[in-house]
């Protein structure tokens, strides 16, 4: 198997970069359009989003819910697991401002997720067909928050 890491890391950076301006057409172009059952599992969704109609509806709704969105990725790993299949993992930080009334001050919120992505090699390059965002759980998040408070208070 060849080293797919550079190509897939670049693709992931491009994909994550499309968050800015909520360029979901750009994101969609990096998915395997021929896959009949693509699966997207965003951290805020209660159920997996399966199939193109559902994914398109989710992205349309995201434009309504959020006023702005930016994302960055790091710690990319990728490996080829079959001639036309690869698995990628990376960390992603998103920063979003939720939409709301203009007279209400809203601060951006952000979090880190660990992503597992599956990709298929197509003539045009590697393309996503399965992507799951994994935040740390509530207990873990509480621990991270307490650790940050301890660092900041420096007792």
């Amino acid at each position: 198997m060849t080293d797919v890491m550079p190509e897939i890391a670049a693709l992931v950076a491009q994909y994550v970069g499309y968050s800015e301006g909520m360029n979901f057409e750009g994101k969609r172009s990096l998915w395997d359009q021929d896959d009949p059952q693509p699966l997207l599992m965003p951290e805020e969704a209660h159920e997996p989003i399966i199939g193109w109609a559902a994914i398109n509806a989710y992205w349309s709704k995201s434009r309504v819910i959020m006023e702005s969105l930016k994302s960055r990725s790091a710690n990319h790993l990728a490996r080829q697991i079959a001639p036309d299949l690869a698995i990628a993992t990376y960390d992603m930080r998103w920063v979003a401002t939720l939409a709301g009334p203009a007279n209400v001050v809203r601060k951006p919120i952000a979090a880190d997720v660990r992503v597992t992505a599956l990709l298929r090699r197509k003539p045009e390059g590697w393309r996503f067909f399965h992507l799951m965002e994994a935040p740390i759980d509530l207990l873990g998040m509480a621990r991270l928050a307490a650790e940050q408070t301890a660092r900041e208070s420096a007792l």
Binding site: E43, H46, P48, R114, T116, L118, M132, A134, D137
Partner: protein, 168 residues
Amino acid sequence: MKADETEPLEHIVTAWASAWQHRMSAQLVALWDTADVKSWFLSAGSVEPYIGHAVVGHLQRRCLGSNAIGYRPGQLHLRRLAPDIGLAFFNLDWSERLAAQNLDGNKTLGGRVRVTMMMRLQASVWRVFHYAEAPLAPLLELQAFYEAIAADGLENIPSRTFVPATQP
């Protein structure tokens, strides 16, 4: 997708769940591709993933460190991606009671996560080589808990039993 193509994948998920339910680390390790030095295991509560040989130690510690584990997969989404590569995605309702004493009085904790599990077929045996758990965003979990308290009603404040300590 023909049912017989995904049947072996469903068997692996069932065996994996049974091994967790019975805290049988040897069975979990037998289902894991221990020869894959890049295998990947991400728990919902861990900051860092376990990779390669570290996975085996983690599986053993988790089984030893618990008095009871509940592991119930549901809504399986199975795909045979290649003759020797399988994908399982499922909702997982879990519970765990830790063996070590802690401030919670060893109450059982639980939750729901979403799992991506990858398997490969080698020498007629399917084994797991990638496993990742994804909880709902913590902000939403907390909001759901607040909503559950609201649904419980104003009158249902939990009763408290005050037992004075007899020893200092």
